[in-house]
Subunit: 266 residues, 2 copies
């Protein structure tokens, strides 16, 4: 499935990047296979206990972040996968630099951390809603890049996904939430406020994607109108990254070849 | 009292910077006055609740970090002053980038954080003891500068003090610890190991001071053989920094001029 991995210095013109790619149901089978691979690699990562993977998920409302987390990681062991959901910053978080709350939840050795929204709120929501002035959010691109470079240099691989949906697809999904009694709870009036500022958000995303696509942590734009191709793209990127990281089961010296005849076990 | 505030790009040749400056007892009176000022400024900082001060204390063993914390801050309100002592990194800390454990204890709005040792252990102890290879610790200078720039840009003033003692003075102080029954507990065999690598530590300090003296967070080298001048220098630097930060009591709108006649209070 085609996804756009951005390159440093290139503009991300979101209206030129498709939100939908053709997928048939055979993709589902392929995704299932990738998820199994992902779970095997995650187990190795955990057993090895030396490397870390950080997965950043950003999207407009209904973009599919929650579903991706539920579905793509479902074969993984929750012991080695930590999901962190970023809400609007609370008083404790507002009292520190905006990266503080992100840094405290970075993945430790052997773990995958999945961020549902992220420190990018500092250049997206906080920018569009006017919570911080431009003089503040404009510095944040460099601050984010420095922070992500520190993590990368310290053994953390970073994968950043922007789930790219069209405004039409969002309308359909919001309407479906209202129509479905089991999904109405997901609907928030705030969704409509965000939708009313669709163009501002797209512009903020474009700038963020451009300014924070670095050699060490590029963005991947994922066509997300079709869930099959979306999940396939993400599972594939995770598997490729983990294959490159190539975690190994640790070897333990001095183990007996057999437990037969060991007094302690008799 | 003269102290050496380093400037970016200048070498810190420690053997050319005095460890002792002449001080008479009149300095004590002056320090007492500064400590009172410090406590008044700290109260304003806390009441204002918008700025933060980070004080980093580094020194060779017996350099006086603990005494400075006990004496210089004694008039301050412990509610607004948080002391954090950095030991050798534990397993939880080793599993993340080396700045993680520092970032989680940065001062929040209105607070002073005092770090007894600090993230600089990553380019001092960990370097000299060979805990991390040069390829790792060499990157840390830039990582430290990026981190401190983030803090500064987010409203945290950073003061970094190197308490500079001579090797002779350290010998006297270590001997005094052994001779004094009430101080023997402070003596650790590790102190002698560190002393045996005196020159390596001085070299590591020189490089760290040079590489991490930035416009936003310069180092101050404090002559620390004489405790009177040491405390005076530090109290003075704290007062000057807080005066520049100029915290203000918040004004609250809509307060009554008098509580007389208010029904709720009758």
């Amino acid at each position: 499935m085609p996804a756009t991995v951005l390159r440093p210095g290139h503009d991300a013109e979101l209206d030129r990047i498709p939100t939908r790619v053709l997928a048939d149901d055979s993709v589902r089978e392929e995704t299932r296979r990738l998820k199994k691979q992902l779970s095997r690699l995650q187990e190795r990562l955990y057993a090895e206990g030396r490397q870390r993977l950080l997965v950043v998920l950003q999207a407009m409302d209904t973009g599919g972040k929650d579903t991706v987390i539920r579905k793509v990681f479902r074969d993984c062991n929750v012991q080695g996968v930590r999901v962190h959901r970023f809400e609007a910053p609370n008083q404790r978080e507002l009292g520190r630099d905006f990266l503080w709350r992100a840094h405290i939840v970075v993945p430790p050795d052997g773990h995958i951390a999945v961020w549902n929204r992220s420190h990018y709120g500092g250049v997206l929501e906080e920018r569009v809603k006017g919570i911080v002035p431009e003089s503040v959010w404009r510095l944040r691109y460099r601050q984010i890049n420095d922070f992500e470079r520190l993590l990368t240099e310290s053994g953390t691989r970073i994968l950043k996904f922007f789930l790219h949906i069209s405004k039409d697809e969002q309308r359909r999904r919001l309407q479906r939430r209202l129509d479905n009694p089991d999904k109405r709870w997901k609907f928030s009036p705030d969704d409509l406020t965000q939708r009313a500022h669709w163009d501002d958000y797209q512009a903020a995303y474009e700038e963020a994607l451009r300014e924070t696509t670095t050699e060490w942590a590029p963005w991947t734009v994922v066509p997300a109108d079709d869930k099959r191709s979306r999940d396939h793209v993400i599972a594939g990127a995770l598997v490729r990254a983990l294959e490159e990281m190539d975690p190994q089961y640790p070897t333990v010296e001095g183990l007996p070849d057999t437990i037969n005849g060991q007094d302690v076990l008799e």
